[in-house]
């Protein structure tokens, strides 16, 4: 397999030298996009570019980021397509991304691109925090649905709130960094202290709290809207709540890995990744996409998401990530006695 991988660039170079016009290029693309969407993404892309074959390497955000970092001195990926911007920022600080201005860049909402010129990454769609509330279990326990982040600290929810651990989940970090940005450092930590008293469990993954709420394993799951909409579509008795203070968000984004031997094909893919056609493709699952005005409402997605998205300072979040996680772990991760 690896042999083939080292052969491909060599062959590609040979093909170019001999002037062969039409050689199929293979791109190794690292992604954290949901497994069930991958085939659809590749197919839609190949409608326009049949000559580029995508070899997906998919895993959860944390694992893919770890993998990219581990391969820092010998990158295996050509392109990263569909990874949290926060992760790409980490890669950028390591000098692992190749800046490139794709055609059609100007159409993007400025929040959905790296501010540098040329940008090191471009956004695809937003992935926003939300609260999943199990109405059946809520009624059994006589709980009313929360409408804000502040509500979650009410004593009546004690033990009924599950949220992802920010140290192992991108969604968890997104929540924590958004609270610190919205409430300010001091108030933010005070809020988390109060919330901690109500937490039943911190999970390792960001989708699990919502799935737990969907299955009644907990009443309130702090998760993301996309997951909630999917569970609701499967028939789970949940409400997806957009807290009134505003919601943290991150975006799935695309970047070229520095040192790729297939720069041309990689650029073609990144160009395509921000076309209106691609946006429509993302819109099947995500309600907010990078080009304004394209997205149609997605079934079961709560209203008013775009307005609720906070002005997220990704640079601040990336540069303070390590310090925030250290503080968080010190405060809350020592909890050795679990709660129901």
């Amino acid at each position: 397999m690896i042999k083939a991988k080292t052969l491909v660039p060599a062959l590609a170079a040979a093909a170019m030298l001999s002037g062969a016009a039409y050689a199929e290029t293979e791109l190794t693309v690292y992604t954290a996009v949901e497994a069930e969407d991958l085939a659809r993404y590749a197919e839609t892309f190949n409608q326009d570019h049949p000559d580029i074959k995508i070899n997906w390497v998919r895993d959860s955000t944390g694992v893919i980021t770890a993998k990219l970092l581990a391969e820092k001195n010998n990158p295996q990926a050509d392109v990263v397509w569909g990874l949290a911007a926060t992760s790409l920022l980490v890669l950028k600080t390591e000098g692992m991304l190749e800046p490139y201005a794709p055609s059609g860049l100007d159409a993007l909402d400025p929040r959905f691109r790296d501010a540098d010129n040329p940008p090191s990454w471009v956004g695809m769609d937003a992935w926003v925090a939300a609260i999943c509330f199990n109405t059946v279990e809520g009624e059994k326990l006589g709980l009313t649905a929360p409408t804000s982040w502040a509500d979650l600290t009410k004593p009546e929810y004690a033990g009924h709130v599950v949220m992802p651990n920010p140290a192992s989940s991108g969604t968890g970090f997104l929540d924590v960094s958004s609270w610190l940005q919205m409430f300010g450092e001091e108030k933010g930590w005070e809020y988390m202290d109060a919330l901690h008293a109500n937490i039943g469990a911190y999970t390792h993954s960001g989708s699990k709290p919502c799935k737990m709420a969907a299955a009644g394993e907990t009443v309130i799951g702090v998760s993301f809207a996309f997951r909630g909409a999917k569970s609701k579509a499967e028939g789970a008795p949940i409400d997806i709540i957009v807290p009134s203070e505003g919601i943290g968000w991150d975006m799935e984004s695309t970047a070229i890995v520095a040192g790729t031997a297939n720069a041309e094909a990689a650029q073609t893919l990144v160009d395509w990744s921000i076309t209106p056609k691609a946006m429509e493709m993302y819109n099947v699952g995500y309600a907010v996409v990078a080009i304004p005005g394209i997205a149609k409402p997605v079934e079961f997605f709560p209203e008013g998401i775009t307005e609720a998205m906070i002005d997220n300072d990704f640079e601040w979040a990336a540069n303070n990530r390590s310090a925030i996680l250290e503080e968080w772990t010190k405060r809350y991760d020592t909890k050795s006695e679990p709660k129901g």
Binding site: N74, S322, P338
Partner: protein
């Protein structure tokens, strides 16, 4: 032949001259030893050195200049180190960092204001002086100029060095440190319970006339066929917040130590049972007769004859259970809740925080209890002396109604527990949407719609299991043959034995992490196997090497050492002897090794969790990842697929063994 020369009266030192067979055997042994070095010793060394890689801010590497308000007159260059010595703004402790650390440059300029027209210049004094402007990495010895508003976005980045700092940090971090206590607590409690349960079970099977022994024995072995995280999933369905029997817990939560302990008892039970059962199967009837004639009560006989006779087995079982629990990762991940244990810490450090150095530190810590348990066990094994002499009379249990009823109750309870856990998983896998839609469906088997790798992962697992069984059996058996049947070469054999025993003490996760450090290094000529099926096979074979090696040795020791000299005097090369005599005679053991490797390759999570790649996703990993994503029912479904596959393999193995035994082992019967 060596034995003969050794007995001669002292004279001229006789040197064994190597014949061709001797050379070939040494080459073979050398090759397998080399395998063990590359697959075990070197990766562990790579991990150990990684744990000493530290990151810190080296202030001497950065130089600054500050302009006046006109932005034209510049101050003398001054290093950050000098500034810090003057201001004391960053204490030495805070200069230590992790690979992801940041230090704001404005820290060294107390007068800094982002509105000021003052400009700043900075440069590195060496080639490796990284800093960030916003998120842009800079690393240069040329002066770079920034205005105040940009300068506030500058962060210094830590540089690599070597030292014990990670360990200091580990032991001063209460969170990480409490994991050691938690791990030990869980392991000790689970060990005590498992050994007690397994002892009762083994006692009933070996020392009573209880009926249904065969069925009980079979049920007791079932947990070996499933990944260790499956009982965790079953416990969620039984005692979770929507559990069927939640009220039984009386408000206690299953998430945490309780769940881990129950699950641990489930998955370590067969391992403990095998060892204790072996110890109890041998007893001398005469000791019991003596006790009886001395009018010792049954109770007293039990404590003075039975327990001492089985004590080595009990100690051994305890250490094996302890090691299995403390190194297990799947169960605490699924049902541990907020209860941190060492194995989970490694995962969180590596996968969650990408802090590979700290992951290596925790791995080294996790190695300690496992190695200690292993060493103690080896010592105990050495003391074990033969209980049976030529004059012994094998113990025959006598019918005893009350004892049998008690035994039946004991084994019945365990059997219900084991079958119950597995049945719950199967039931859960077939439910459409627990607990709101209890209709049956196969929707949870649509693995391709979930995280974890889909059905491809299942087929990959089968491929891995077959390759591990095939390649592993050949490597392990050949290695054992060479080390057992080689003449002389004592040091080499000793070293080989040590290498072959070592995997037993190395937790799978530790091995896997060590593989990342070793094989994912572009400078390593073996780098090409990284991310392929080969590395998974190597990791699995190595992780389970020891038990196979011991099985092979036991079988080989049964073959008279005279065969080799006879064959050699008949001028038959050793490989003919190996193919015509050794392998056929040892076939039952060879089959045992291969089924052992197959089953474990299907169920292992820890040995592969860090080194599988997208194209080599595995069923056991899929169980883990689907549970992680909250898809518990599909996780149970995949776990049951592993169970049925392993059960099928076991049945095939039993049939094949019987046929082969009939054909090749007739000599055993006279």
């Amino acid at each position: 032949m060596t034995e003969m020369t050794a007995e001669l009266p002292p004279g001229r030192r006789v040197r064994l001259s190597l014949d061709r067979d001797g050379i070939i055997k040494r080459i073979f042994m050398g090759v397998i030893a080399l395998y063990l070095v590359a697959a075990l010793a070197l990766p562990l060394y790579a991990m150990l050195s990684k744990s000493f890689v530290t990151y810190g801010f080296d202030l001497a590497r950065y130089e600054f200049q500050v302009s006046d308000e006109t932005g034209t007159v510049w101050s003398e260059p001054v290093t950050a180190e000098a500034l810090n010595a003057e201001l004391g703004s960053v204490p030495a402790d805070d200069l230590r960092s992790s690979s992801d650390g940041r230090l704001t440059a404005t820290t060294f300029f107390p007068d800094f204001s982002f509105r000021s027209p003052v400009k700043y210049r900075m440069r590195g004094t060496t080639d490796d002086a990284p800093w960030l402007v916003g998120l842009d990495l800079k690393n240069t010895t040329d002066w770079q100029e920034y205005d105040s508003n940009t300068f506030r976005r500058i962060n210094l980045r830590p540089v690599k060095s070597v030292g014990a700092q990670n360990y200091v940090e580990y032991f001063s971090n209460p969170t990480l440190f409490s994991s050691i206590q938690n791990s030990l607590y869980i392991a000790v409690v689970s060990t005590v319970l498992t050994v007690v349960f397994a002892f009762g079970f083994a006692y009933a099977i070996n020392r009573s006339c209880m009926p249904f022994k065969g069925a009980f024995r079979m049920i007791a072995m079932m947990p070996i066929l499933v990944p260790s995280l499956l009982p965790g999933i079953a416990l969620i369905y039984l005692f979770g917040n929507q559990g069927m029997m939640k009220s039984l817990l009386m408000g206690q939560s299953i998430y945490g130590p309780l769940g881990i302990v129950i699950g641990s008892v489930f998955f370590t039970f067969p391992h403990a049972l095998i060892i204790i059962s072996t110890a109890l199967s041998i007893a001398d009837q005469r000791q019991y007769e003596a006790a009886e004639s001395l009018r010792a009560s049954k109770w007293r006989t039990f404590w003075t004859v039975t327990i001492p006779g089985a004590r080595y087995g009990l100690i051994s079982a305890a250490f094996v259970t302890f090691t299995l629990v403390i190194t297990d990762f799947g169960l605490p991940k699924v049902i541990g809740g907020q209860y941190n244990v060492l194995a989970i810490d490694i995962y969180k450090q590596v996968i969650g925080q990408q802090n590979f150095e700290m992951g290596a530190v925790v791995s080294v810590i996790l190695l300690i209890p496992a190695v200690v348990a292993f060493l103690v066990d080896r010592q105990v094994q050495k003391k074990q002396v033969s209980l049976l002499s030529a004059r012994s009379v094998p113990y025959q249990p006598r019918p005893d109604r009350r004892l049998e009823a008690l035994c039946l109750a004991w084994c019945g309870t365990m059997a219900v527990f084991i079958v119950g856990i597995i049945a719950i998983c199967q039931y859960a896998a077939l439910i459409r949407f627990w607990p709101y839609d209890l209709s049956l469906s196969l929707k949870n088997y649509a693995f391709d719609r979930m995280d974890g790798g889909g059905w491809a992962a299942y087929w990959n697992s089968i491929k891995l299991a077959l390759m591990t069984a095939g390649i592993g059996t050949v490597v392990i058996f050949t290695g054992a043959y060479m080390v057992e049947k080689i003449d002389g070469f004592k040091t080499g054999r000793g070293l080989f034995q040590f290498l072959a025993m070592l995997p037993m003490a190395v937790p799978g996760m530790v091995l896997g992490l060590a593989y990342i450090f070793f094989f994912n290094n572009p400078a390593n000529p073996l780098h090409f196997i990284y991310g392929t099926m080969i590395i998974l096979v190597i990791s699995t074979v190595t992780h389970f090497y020891t038990v196979g090696h011991l099985t092979a040795l036991t079988a080989l020791k049964q073959i008279d050492a005279e065969f080799e000299p006879v064959a050699s005097s008949l001028r038959q090369p050793f490989y003919k002897l190996f193919a015509r005599v050794t392998v056929p005679v040892c076939l039952p053991a060879i089959l045992d090794i291969s089924i052992y490797l197959f089953v474990n390759a299907m169920t292992t999570v820890s040995a592969v969790v860090f080194i599988y790649s997208t194209h080599t996703a595995l069923a056991s990993i899929a169980v883990l990842n689907m549970d992680d994503a909250g898809d518990i029912a599909p996780a149970a479904a995949m776990g049951m697929m592993i169970f049925y596959t392993n059960a099928g393999a076991r049945i095939l193995h039993a049939l094949a063994s019987r046929r082969i035994l009939n054909r090749t082992q007739a000599w055993r019967l006279r």
